[in-house]
């Protein structure tokens, strides 16, 4: 065989072997009941962060927060309730949003409505920098190549099971040796970076215990600052609110619902009258507390902190109605 033919044969054979191995790997996991899934990361967040300043600011609704709002808010439901508006979720699972709010305040191109889903605990100094690495990534590392890379990755994640990090060959090898199959998630990341949860697939009792124990331990490890200190430390976020509102934007702090032991722990550590109720005065932003709105307080919270995917549209429509009544959003009629 000629050298040229031999070299081409090697490459073709390699592609065939790799293709067959990948097809077999994909087929195996599909036969085990796994489906393609989108995975969140800082590049995907950055894509959405970028979009926030590209849309019409007069009809721009941006959501910052952590998992509670990420599981509750539906951009589709919002946009159908508010025709012509664009909704974007910058919520980050497990990360309180102070750094995101301050970042948007520093961006002169942002002048939309910013809904900040947070509780009094999330505004304490312990948690101020949680989302800062995401903001830093957007400003320092996110560029043309990462934008394209993330779009390609999204296209693959939507089509192939094996693109998910849980199906990494080495992880599966150690998982197999330990008798641990890939986890089956009850949550699903959607194209708009919101999350839909199906609590019928979840160990609800286990989750309730997990949240209560984790929260109790965290309150011991990071106790609530004295109300005076807590309020003093709101100065920078107050400045962020002022900057956004001075440009014509609006900022609303939303206290998402929690229930049962979760709500008891929150109330014991951050009594509403000494913390949350001082937030509006300290920052100049409007506040919405779930307990003041029966349509939010009445939502079922299977794990005491998050709502089921089937309630997302209802939650979002209720939220829109509350914000319209508060004058934050115009009446869509």
């Amino acid at each position: 065989m000629q050298a040229t033919h031999r070299a081409i044969s090697v490459i073709v054979l390699a592609l065939l072997v790799a293709g067959a191995a990948l097809a077999g790997w994909e087929w195996f996991w599909r036969t085990q009941g796994y489906e393609p899934a989108l995975y969140d990361d800082r590049d995907l967040w950055s894509l959405h962060r970028e979009r926030v300043t590209e849309v019409d600011q007069a009809r721009n609704f941006t959501v910052a927060g952590a998992s509670r709002i990420q599981l509750a808010f539906s951009t589709d439901a919002f946009e159908s309730s508010m025709p012509g508006w664009t909704a974007t979720s910058l919520a980050i699972n497990g990360h309180y949003p102070t750094a995101v709010v301050e970042d948007l305040a520093e961006d002169d191109d942002f002048a939309g409505v910013l809904l900040v889903a947070v509780d009094a605990r999330g505004l304490a100094h312990w948690y101020r920098d949680m989302s800062e690495p995401w903001v830093r990534h957007y400003h320092r590392d996110f560029g043309p190549q990462r934008r394209i890379e993330r779009q390609l990755l999204t296209a693959l994640q939507n089509r192939l099971v094996i693109v998910g990090s849980e199906f990494n060959l080495v992880r599966r090898l150690t998982g197999w040796l330990d008798g641990r199959p890939p986890p089956r998630h009850y949550t699903r990341l959607l194209h708009d970076r919101t999350i839909s949860a199906d609590y019928q697939q979840a160990d609800v009792e286990g989750l309730r215990r997990h949240f209560a124990q984790g929260l109790a331990a965290d309150y011991e490890r990071r106790p609530a600052p004295a109300p005076g200190r807590w309020r003093a430390e709101l100065e920078s976020i107050g400045e962020a609110v002022s900057a956004i509102q001075a440009r014509g934007g609006k900022v609303v702090f939303l206290r998402m619902p929690t229930s049962d032991r979760h709500w008891e722990l929150d109330s014991e550590n951050y009594p509403r009258d000494r913390y949350w109720n001082r937030l509006s005065e300290a920052t100049g932003a409007r506040t919405v507390h779930f307990a003041d709105h029966p349509e939010l307080a009445g939502l079922e919270l299977p794990d005491t902190s998050h709502i089921d995917g089937r309630d997302r549209a209802a939650f979002t429509r209720s939220l829109v109605a509350i914000l319209v009544r508060a004058g934050v959003l115009p009446d869509a009629e």
Binding site: A7, V12, L22, R140, G143, E149, N168, D178
Partner: protein, 470 residues
Amino acid sequence: MTFDSLTFALFIVALWGLVGLSRGWRVRKLELLAASYLFYAAWNPVFIWLLVVSTVIDWHAARRLATTHNPHGRKAWLLLSVMVNLGLLSWFKYADFFIANFNQLTSWAGLPGFQAPLIDVVLPIGISFYTFQTLSYTFDVYRRRIRPGNDFADYALYVSFFPQLVAGPIVRYEQFAGQLASPRPMTAANLEVGTALMVAGLFLKTVLADSVFAPVVDAGFAAADGIGTLSAWSSILSFSGQIYCDFAGYSLCAIGAARIFGFVLPKNFHAPYAALGFSDFWRRWHITLSTWIRDYLYITLGGNRHGRARTLGNLVIAMGLGGLWHGAAWTFVLWGLAHGLWLVIEHALRPLAGRSALLAHRAMAPVYMAVTFVVVTLTWVLFRAESLSQAGSFYSALLSVSASTMNTAAWLALATMTGLLAWHAAIRRVEIELVYDRLAWPLRGVVMGLLLAAVLTSPGESRAFIYFQF
């Protein structure tokens, strides 16, 4: 743009097609030049100007160096090149390091009012590599080892050629100029070897460095304060594997990417963990950097020309500065100084080996190999630690005896590291490309296919190549 990205896969396939279909060597070179700038701009277009400034200044400085005969004038042109390149490097890479140390000093001196704010400047990717590459050009012209190039576009391609632009190998002009002079053969054989090198490099990076070793290393160093002895050893041995597979993997990808366009870049690693001593280690580890430090730093300091004490001092200084090149932190400086110290000790002990038949016996080679590997591995603690206190905690865990267990991932990492050591021992005198050439073509295809499949089934958290931060 990183070699382990989907974007790069599309980029190189499209570029290979474009260059392959183009007629005329000059057109092809201009396409490669434009693609190299696009490759760099894909990360952050703003920093293209740094590459342009470095290229233009060194191009003109070198031409002046070649035509100027006045020694003072020549030194001035050399100084301009050094100041511009090291000035840019210092500003972007070391400014905050100097400010933080200044603040610490004023704090110790009881002058807390003299605190300067940190600049928090973004480190332009690859700046450490391309500044060293262009400096080697002006140094060589200054020493009249080479004549400056006649074609600016050729020189610009030498500086910015995308395979080696952001993390080496650090290529000398004399290694590249000849290749620019005549058309490079974009043959099927080069395509095959280049692809094989890239697949092997990606396997080292994504499968071994990122999937096998990194989780064990990260877990170990995250728990440095309370880690047990066994876990500490498994972590640092895994880091030996991770840093090698990460950087050697990058270098292989770079060499492979150049090869498919017909270019040959210098080898950067050759079985470093099979080194017999520290001099041998540095002949095998990051070869293009260690030869750069030897030629332009150690020899400039006087090398071995001024007596034994000065020679050893020069070694330590050169290695310390080499450590600082890796990162703006005292941990890197100490890592470099430690390697300088090991070289000094080796120099001191070398006469003993010459006088003792036992020490010079071939059977001692595995002992020297093991000692070198263990000391190199222990020295990696300084390289990996995020602070001196973390390094201290880690060393105390390594050298104490405390109970701990290892999980499956750690056992797998240790088994892989053992395999890697055996592989290095087996190939320490062998050119791996010759081994590849001797394989039957179906076996080459199957091996390449399996490695590629392993790469593509190893998605995970995006971990930048470690040497990108340097």
